[in-house]
């Protein structure tokens, strides 16, 4: 801008000087002063042309022209507010939807940990063959890319040995473990929070600097049970301590265990588990001895069989990935063989390294495909909006044909006009983009609702970040070019002579119509794809909603209780549950109370190896056949009556089944079908293993006393599977840790009232008891199908948007085509063509175009259905058959409009212009 002003002033001065000099010369030659100046100007010639030449010589002319184009474009757009509103509005919707989806994708899949050089971080996984030496894990298992199962959980002894070994090679291994909810009490208030245990070197290796105090240091992570210190997350520091700087040195009781606050994390630091949300408390790994010392019969810090600890490292700069992996595997192999002895046929897993820049990123693994599918679909909406605007522009550019022809005739370059039209498109796109950014900004507030559990109030808003802004700007630019080029090309390709003659304005009709119809077919295809896609997900949701869970979910309230191990070890926790259940049943308005270790339809399951007495095949070896396993649940006797699960044969559990009476079990129908071949199982026995009593190993035998109806177990998708139930109050084989349970209340009272009564009941027993995750069974079921509902809601939204856009587009093009054929139609009518025939002609054309679009769209939708098969439930591609013949409504409008067109008016127009 400054350059421009300087150049302009320079030229001005120079030309003035030139003229004055020349005039002076003329005066010297005897011309009168006023005449001399006039002659000087004449001799100089076109002053503006000269200036323009200078501008283009120094390269500011394009800039000048650009601003002129921009001003002109703004004027054009202002002159047709209807067109501008529709075009910019549809772009804004499409760009907004894309921005929202991208901000979710960016947040869930792309964002990196806020630590220096995050890309150097690697997560360690072990890949196991079918018969691995490891059978137990407190961590996640999933199927890796090569089909082998892969786990993030390592045993503590292996971790120790590999760490020592790698340290010698200059590689520092660090570890973390996310704990489930712990109870944090401070100053008389208790809160359920997430805690992450970290090795002493994690803060150093992550290179994160705490905002206040210090991080967890190697000396904190010493002997098991030592290091009672905690670093708070920034958010927790704000909410629990109001951001007070004298938080350091305060003592917080974590599951009743006192720890001293030594630091507060920087705001962006989220630990090693994920990028989205930070655990509230960071504790040294040694604290696991206090918080989760045992799991089942395994002591976590000593067990050679139970994998649980999660490992990371920072790849040394300059060391090739393969060298690092080999070095690691060598060390890991040795450590595994030093700690376990493989049985015959068992194999030692291998270690693989995966990108750790997003931390463990568990949810990203499962959300990747759904999010990419949604991004693809929303991208289709954008393409559709582009096609739509291109169409509108095409139709409009035909009206501007005269204007453009005049400009061409006056000597404007075709490239200049092309550029001008493109600037117009870009301006339109920019308006749409601005609107889209705004919608995206608002949309991101709604996004967490789709990603988080209804009763989890720790939802993190999706941040509106620079990458998102960049993405929006980029798609805006691309959109502008996409929909701008075709109309611009078309307009500038006009033959000046023909276009200037009004009578011959059909000169370019054929080509315009072709482009327009192509775009319409494309729009119809896109809309069909989106509507069909949304139908798929909608049907999935409906199918899932129609699944009967096998019990009566309405009126059930759930709440979880995980008693602290220290006070409620083993049998004590069972007594606690018994007391608590009594108090809950006594709450007025409660029709019944029960508990289950595994709440139904909550995506959690408990699978146990077991055998049926007398089953010779399974008894062939002393070890359990891994294929012979069943889902399992531990419940209180009232379970079947409270849940309203019919007991079909025999009986349920009764108070007479005690810890001294023989073990009994109730199985479901699927269990009977699978393990008893449908014959009555009453009186038969099953076993889940052995227990030790008086130094002897005794097999546990459970006598089947009843058969209950089938229910869904962990989700709605899986067909009812075999389950056997045992009575918690018969349990006598205890571990030192407390048994947690989910309480289930049936009541007509509102959940809000019940929650208060429940908390009071808990307070009466122990004021420190954390009652967490309170929700209704209906919410719980809804949560399990959250992803399906999210898909249905989003794709239905996209589908509607697409349909609306396509309708506008089709209307625009057909109206335009018809207007181009006004002469022809007028003549046809004058010559006696029936109106129905004319209408049929127009409709036929529209139907052809729409038909092609629908066919292409359906083909694409079938392809989509295959891609997203894993996300669908109880559907096959035939569902799509319900969707055809949907679009007949669109062209009819034009037919009707056509018929009303007055034949006289048309002929009149003909006379006026020819």
């Amino acid at each position: 801008m400054r350059l421009r002003r300087r150049v302009e002033n320079g030229i001005q001065d120079e030309i003035r000087f030139h003229l004055e000099e020349h005039a002076a010369k003329l005066v010297a030659e005897g011309v009168s002063e006023s005449e001399a100046y006039r002659q000087a100007r004449v001799a100089f010639g076109g002053m503006e042309t000269s200036r323009d030449g200078v501008r283009s010589a120094v390269g500011i002319r394009p800039l000048d022209e650009f601003f002129a184009d921009l001003r002109y474009a703004a004027r054009i757009l202002r002159n047709s507010p209807g067109f501008t509103a529709i075009a910019a509005g549809s772009l804004a919707l499409a760009i907004g939807a894309n921005t929202t989806m991208f901000s979710v994708a960016n947040f869930m899949l792309l964002q990196r940990l806020a630590v220096p050089r995050a890309t150097e971080l690697r997560m360690l996984y072990h890949q196991d063959q079918e018969h691995s030496v490891y059978h137990m894990s407190w961590g996640s298992w999933f199927s890796g890319e090569n089909g082998l199962s892969q786990s993030d959980a390592f045993t503590y002894p292996v971790y120790q040995q590999v760490r020592r070994d790698l340290r010698a090679a200059g590689i520092e291994l660090f570890a973390f473990k996310g704990l489930r909810t712990v109870n944090a009490a401070y100053g008389g208030s208790a809160q359920a929070v997430q805690a992450e245990l970290v090795s002493g070197n994690l803060y150093g290796q992550m290179e994160t600097k705490p905002l206040l105090g210090r991080g967890i240091q190697p000396q904190d992570d010493g002997a098991p049970g030592s290091g009672a210190v905690a670093v708070l997350s920034y958010g927790f520091w704000q909410s629990m301590f109001g951001g007070s700087p004298d938080v350091l040195g305060k003592v917080v009781r974590v599951d009743t265990f006192p720890v001293t606050v030594v630091g507060v994390n920087a705001p962006g630091f989220t630990g090693a588990e994920n990028v989205q949300r930070s655990p509230e408390l960071f504790l040294p790994m040694s604290m696991i001895g206090n918080l989760r010392a045992t799991l089942g019969k395994e002591v976590v810090l000593q067990s050679n069989n139970l994998g649980w600890i999660q490992l990371m490292l920072r790849k040394p700069a300059g060391m090739p990935e393969s060298v690092l992996r080999d070095r690691l595997n060598q060390s890991f192999h040795a450590a595994v063989l030093a700690t376990v002895t493989p049985k015959k046929g068992e194999t030692v897993p291998t270690v693989v390294l995966e990108d750790g820049s997003r931390g463990l990123a568990q949810s990203a693994r499962f959300l990747r495909k759904p999010i990419y599918v949604l991004l693809g679909l929303v991208g289709c909406v954008l393409l559709l909006a582009c096609a739509n605007v291109a169409n509108l522009m095409l139709a409009r550019s035909s009206n501007r044909q005269r204007e453009i022809s005049v400009r061409l005739a006056l000597g404007a370059g075709r490239d200049r006009i092309f550029r001008q039209l493109l600037v117009e498109s870009l301006l339109l796109a920019a308006i749409g983009g601005a609107g889209g950014a705004l919608l995206g900004y608002l949309g991101r507030m709604g996004a967490p609702a789709l990603l988080n559990t209804a009763w989890d109030n720790t939802a993190v808003p999706v941040p509106f970040s620079w990458p998102v802004f960049g993405f929006t700007s980029a798609i805006t630019l691309i959109t502008g070019i996409l929909f701008g080029v075709a109309p611009a090309w078309q307009s500038t390709g006009t033959d000046v002579n023909t276009a200037l003659k009004q009578g011959a304005r059909s000169a370019s009709r054929r080509r315009t119509a072709w482009t327009g119809k192509g775009l319409v077919a494309f729009q119809v295809a896109m809309a069909t794809l989106l509507v069909a896609g949304s139908a798929l997900f909608f049907r999935t949701m409906m199918n899932l909603a129609a699944v009967h869970p096998g019990f009566e979910p309405a009126g059930l309230l759930l709440a979880e209780l995980q008693p602290p191990d220290r006070q409620y070890a083993g049998a004590k926790s069972i007594v606690l549950h018994q007391q608590f259940l009594e108090r809950l049943s006594a709450i007025p308005g409660v029709d019944g109370a029960t508990l289950a270790v595994v709440p139904l339809i909550s995506n959690s399951n408990w699978n146990s190896g077991m055998r049926v007495e007398g089953d010779t095949q399974a008894n062939a070896s002393e070890d359990f056949d891994p294929g012979h396993s069943s889902n399992f649940n531990m419940i209180s006797p009232e379970f079947f009556s409270v849940m309203k699960i019919p007991v079909i044969a025999g009986r349920g559990f009764t108070p007479q089944d005690t810890s001294t009476s023989p073990y009994v079990t109730v199985v479901n129908q699927a269990f009977v079908k699978k393990f008893f071949q449908g014959q009555s199982p009453i009186g038969k026995r099953i076993s889940d293993g052995e227990h030790e009593a008086d130094g002897k190993r005794i097999r546990n035998w459970f006598t089947v006393v009843g058969v209950c109806a089938d229910t869904q177990y962990s989700d709605l998708r899986t067909a009812p599977s075999p389950i056997y139930f045992t009575d918690m109050f018969q349990a006598r084989d205890f571990t030192p840790n407390a048994q947690g349970a989910t309480y289930i209340l049936r009541s007509q009272r509102s959940p809000a009232e019940l929650v208060i009564a429940m908390r009071n009941a808990a307070l009466a027993i122990d004021p420190d008891l954390p009652l967490v995750n309170i929700r209704t069974q209906v919410q719980q079921i809804a949560d399990v199908s959250r992803q399906e509902r999210m898909f249905a809601a989003l794709t239905a939204g996209f589908g509607l948007l697409a349909l609306a856009l396509a309708c506008v587009g089709i209307y625009g093009v057909m109206a335009y085509t018809v207007s181009q054929r006004t002469h022809e139609i007028g003549i046809r009518l004058a010559l006696g063509a029936e109106r129905a025939r004319v209408r049929g002609m127009v409709l036929r054309e529209a139907t052809w175009v729409a038909g092609i679009g629908v066919v292409v769209g359906l083909a694409a939708a079938i392809a989509l259905a295959r891609v997203v098969k894993s996300l669908l439930y109880n559907l096959n591609p035939h569902v799509l058959r319900n969707l055809h013949h949907r679009r007949a409504c669109d062209p009819v409008q034009h037919g009707v409009r056509q018929r009303r067109r007055e034949q006289l008016a048309i002929l009149h127009q003909e006379q006026v212009f020819s």
């Binding site: 030229i11 020349h22 002053m47 010589a57």
Partner: protein, 118 residues
């Protein structure tokens, strides 16, 4: 002035370089010097002078500075840069070669033998 001629296209820049090579000049001065050198027989569109000047300035052939003119007025003076000097030499050489070829062609009065048999 009866033998005056229009400028051959593309030669204005060469003329400017030549004019400025004889000493720094302002825009009007360049115009006058060209007219004077051509003994007033070349007609130059005065307005077309400035785009050419700015083009040469942008390409680095001319250096400019504002200073006072002989009658004590502020004016922009142009002088030749090293690159401009080289350009002048190259253009001069090219021009005389083209001129030689052109006049050789135009002097021919009879078709050469080889051309007739083609």
């Amino acid at each position: 002035m009866s033998d005056a001629a229009d400028l051959v296209q593309g030669t204005l820049e060469l003329l400017i370089l030549k004019a400025v090579s004889l000493g720094p000049l302002h825009g009007y001065g360049i115009l006058q010097r060209i007219e004077q050198l051509s003994r007033e027989r070349l007609l130059i569109q005065q307005g077309s002078l400035y785009p050419a000047l700015y083009r040469l300035e942008a390409s680095g052939a001319l250096l400019t500075e504002w200073s006072t003119s002989e009658n004590n007025r502020r004016a922009k003076y142009y002088r030749l840069s090293e690159a401009g000097r080289e350009q002048l030499a190259a253009e001069t050489e090219r021009w005389s070669r083209v001129a030689r070829i052109m006049s050789a062609i135009l002097r021919v009065t009879e078709a050469p033998a080889a051309a007739g048999q083609a």
